[in-house]
Assembly symmetry: none
Homo-oligomer: 520 residues x 2
């Protein structure tokens, strides 16, 4: 196993194929700069021949002075029967101005026949000619052997010939691609072992997650001597995604002792993962290995108890190694020890024998019985504890609200909310329209408070969830509303429960604002 | 490799440890019945000693006649220094009435010392005594060797001794647990190979996904002879989750040729995955291997082109094998065949070339684009098709509604709805209070219609669900409301989508009533 590994990120190209992701040139520039800071060696910027936006990216990224990363351009081999120098796709690759070019070619006879519709011999020439031509222009050339594993299962000698064509033409690295993501780890390992003796240039791996094995396959390839690993941040990519570079980096560094990033860069991993999710406008996955917000969250009573005795007992690594944090969740099942742990986090002096501890526990269990779920709403939980301990005074007092939703004969629906609040001894009346009743309430509340608490301008609501608790009660069912809010530094969840969805939303909204005001 | 594998689901216990999941007894019963239908051999129902709700589940599940699954109860070995027969935890396991009991014990000296705080010798006795005692009561006993791999890395001979204690006491299967989910696949494989010669009873595997290798580790264990695989539907579970049984089942069956479920059951996999997500109120993961809605979705131009030439080119399996579907994004070609299929179900005569088919398709795609999801609302879908084909006239026409929600200074909240309808040339004004705004609308609507359509007295709403579609929009987000209604013969789902939750609920309510009136 080689201890020197090149990391190759394709979030900007393969990652942008994810359903729901659409990156602007500006987004791409921000992501590239963040990956450069993390120390990723190669960042695949895009496919200049397929997407005009990508050329703009290549132009603009040159003006940013990246410190650690080389930007690469991606494209296919020349077309069948054409001259390489005149091939439009190959020309745009040169026009990108990148020093490193990644060329993909077909390693599967099925694809040569059905998709390229050319001969096996011509396909080998296309690979050879394109790599050779780009090398003659002074480029570093990576060859992506597309569908390599599927091709090898169908026709091993031909698949190997495509690699040798790229090697003979001077390819600097040859990447074995499991393009459809369907190869089992032991089959993939066998194939790599079989071809390795025939290839003298460094090998790389490009895995997809269609069978949930992308990370396993990438690590297996490294353990068999592959020196270059392709993937995307958070595993973004078409269908089930590419191999998740976050999990790969953490596993290589912590578990396999491969120094692919420095210790201090590794601590940025969680932040990078969230940054990229934000830039792609994707929800960050709570249960994502290493970097998810639940990755070190403990809920079961037995686990919490054990983690308090020895954190190593239910954690495979120290969360801070990857910049993540341990979290203890509060639930109906949790006991006194959880409350004490949380109080410590809030820097509150609370003892097990304290009457107040018992009081908070009873309050918590009572509310959870009514349908509250504080594990999912740490913001409301903190307010509950601090209210019980009289650690703060309410920032305002509601004297009443009224919400009207009206649908007219023409089918138009309008929502309007009026609020009466007492703030710092003044009575505030405000009203607002909104996109739906909760939005109208939200706007009216902010309008009433903003003059008194300008900090509220710096927070916004980022998620909103509704769960019906006792479905059988039909439209009279109790509902639980969860609201996530965030400012520049952090995010927090708050909760409300009621048979009335408007009232449940109001409670969650009020907690959201109170939490911001409490924390500043 | 053994071709006979037992599937063991722990969605109800380990899965319920997921942050954000909170299952009622009713939810658990529904999930267990669905898993039984899928043909899972063992369903871990819960931990009767740790959670009073679980005992209720064990009581109630007995009244359902499961066809394929055995329900198991989970618990720990007896406490240090106690008599097994008098141990409260062990007693509750017997009280569960389950024929199969899963006992977990510690295989790691770190845990014996720091968490149990007992001697290595006593821990071995605890394992032996508990298994022996339960066997003497005629139970099938599975032994979960908790932290087995971590324990083995620290002290291999002691870890092995814990397995042998369970084996000597008569354990029917011994499950090797990677409790912290941090073991690399090649390390896990090495350990299994090393211990296997010492164990004569069947071995099982229980993997967690903290390093993104849970599925790979489970498959590796099977290929080394483990005959029992534990996991959860959708990989739910504490921290980063357990091994995803959906991916495991599909890989075992399709890729490894292990007949763990029948071909026809395999086709239910996508539906089961979505059903469980819905029951857990979790968003179904779009990119989930095999069963995600993007798992066979093609976006890249090259890929779409190739898939149209030969679907196998960018798909590792045929999507219908697991009950999933190919989706071509940004294509108007998809869907026509579905419409024709559905029309046939409704006994409507519709042809592919029919202009009406095109019209329905456009309408459907437009609405799905806006957030409708007709797969989950067949009632509304049937109304949509029949409306488009002018197969019925609306039973009433809304001229307007108004909903008022008011909170007073004393904290009381009241909801009131007024509705103006035109029914059979009469104008009906009604008003009603309700438990929340939707319930008020519901009551006012029925009041208005009952004299004209007495059949409505025979239907009622049985389920009500709300999902926020674009969470990032905060309180202005679009919401999707699903309502299930039923009468003596059948049940049906209807849907509404709007930025205004009241309006979305109204639309779903109206469809619910119209469907009943249409079907009689």
């Amino acid at each position: 196993m080689n201890k020197k590994i090149a990391l190759y990120d394709t979030t900007l190209r393969d990652g942008s194929q994810t359903e729901g992701i659409s990156l602007s040139v500006m987004d791409k520039l921000r992501i590239a700069q963040r990956l450069d800071k993390l120390g990723i060696q190669y960042i695949e910027g895009g496919w200049p021949g397929s997407n005009p936006k990508d050329m703009e990216f290549f132009k603009k990224i040159k003006r940013k002075s990246l410190k650690n990363s080389a930007i690469t351009a991606f494209g296919s081999t020349r077309r069948p029967g054409k001259s390489t120098g005149k091939d439009k796709n190959v020309r745009t690759l040169l026009e990108s101005g990148c020093k490193v070019i990644t060329i993909f070619g077909k390693s599967s006879v099925l694809h040569v026949r059905d998709i390229l519709r050319t001969s096996n011999e011509e396909n080998l020439k296309m690979i050879y000619d394109t790599v050779k031509y780009l090398k003659s222009k002074g480029k570093t050339v990576f060859f992506d052997a597309e569908h390599f594993f599927d091709g090898y299962f169908g026709n091993p000698s031909y698949a190997l010939k495509t690699l040798i064509a790229a090697q003979d033409a001077g390819s600097d690295t040859i990447i074995l691609c499991d393009t459809n993501g369907g190869t089992l780890t032991h089959d993939l390992s066998r194939v790599i072992s079989e071809i390795k003796p025939n290839i003298s240039v460094p090998l790389g791996i490009h895995a997809h997650n269609d069978n949930a094995l992308a990370v396993a396959n990438s690590l297996a390839a490294v353990s068999l001597g592959c020196q270059h690993v392709q993937g995307t941040i958070n595993g973004y990519g078409e269908r089930c995604g590419n191999a998740d570079l976050c999990a790969i980096i953490a596993n290589l560094k912590i578990k396999m002792g491969i120094d692919c990033v420095s210790d201090s860069k590794l601590k940025e991993l969680t932040e990078v993962s969230r940054f990229v999710a934000e830039a792609c406008n994707m929800k960050h996955q709570d249960n994502q290995p290493f970097v998810g917000q639940s990755a070190f969250a403990h809920k079961g009573g037995v686990h919490i108890n054990a983690v308090m005795k020895n954190p190593h007992s239910y954690e495979h690594i120290r969360p801070d190694l990857v910049g993540n944090k341990r979290r203890v969740l509060v639930s109906e099942l949790s006991g006194k020890s959880t409350i004490l742990f949380k109080a410590k986090e809030m820097e509150l002096d609370l003892k097990g024998k304290d009457r107040k501890t018992k009081k908070i526990l009873n309050l918590l269990q009572d509310l959870e019985h009514k349908g509250y779920h504080f594990e999912a709403a740490q913001g409301s939980f903190e307010l509950l504890v601090k209210r019980a301990l009289k650690k703060y005074k309410d920032f305002f007092k509601l004297e009443g609200y009224k919400v009207i939703i009206e649908k007219t004969e023409e089918g138009k629906v309008r929502s309007e909310a009026t609020i009466k609040l007492r703030v710092k001894d003044k009575v505030e009346y405000t009203a607002s329209k909104g996109d739906g009743p909760v939005n109208a309430l939200d706007r009216a509340l902010r309008k009433a408070l903003l003059d008194f608490y300008p900090a509220l301008a710096k927070m916004h609501l980022s998620d909103f969830r509704v769960r019906v608790l006792d479905e059988k009660a039909g439209t009279a069912a109790k509902v639980r509303v969860l609201i996530q809010s965030q400012d520049a530094k952090k995010s927090w969840w708050t909760i409300g429960v009621s048979e009335n969805i408007i009232e449940a939303s109001w409670d969650a909204l009020v907690d959201s604002v109170e939490y911001k005001l409490l924390k500043g």
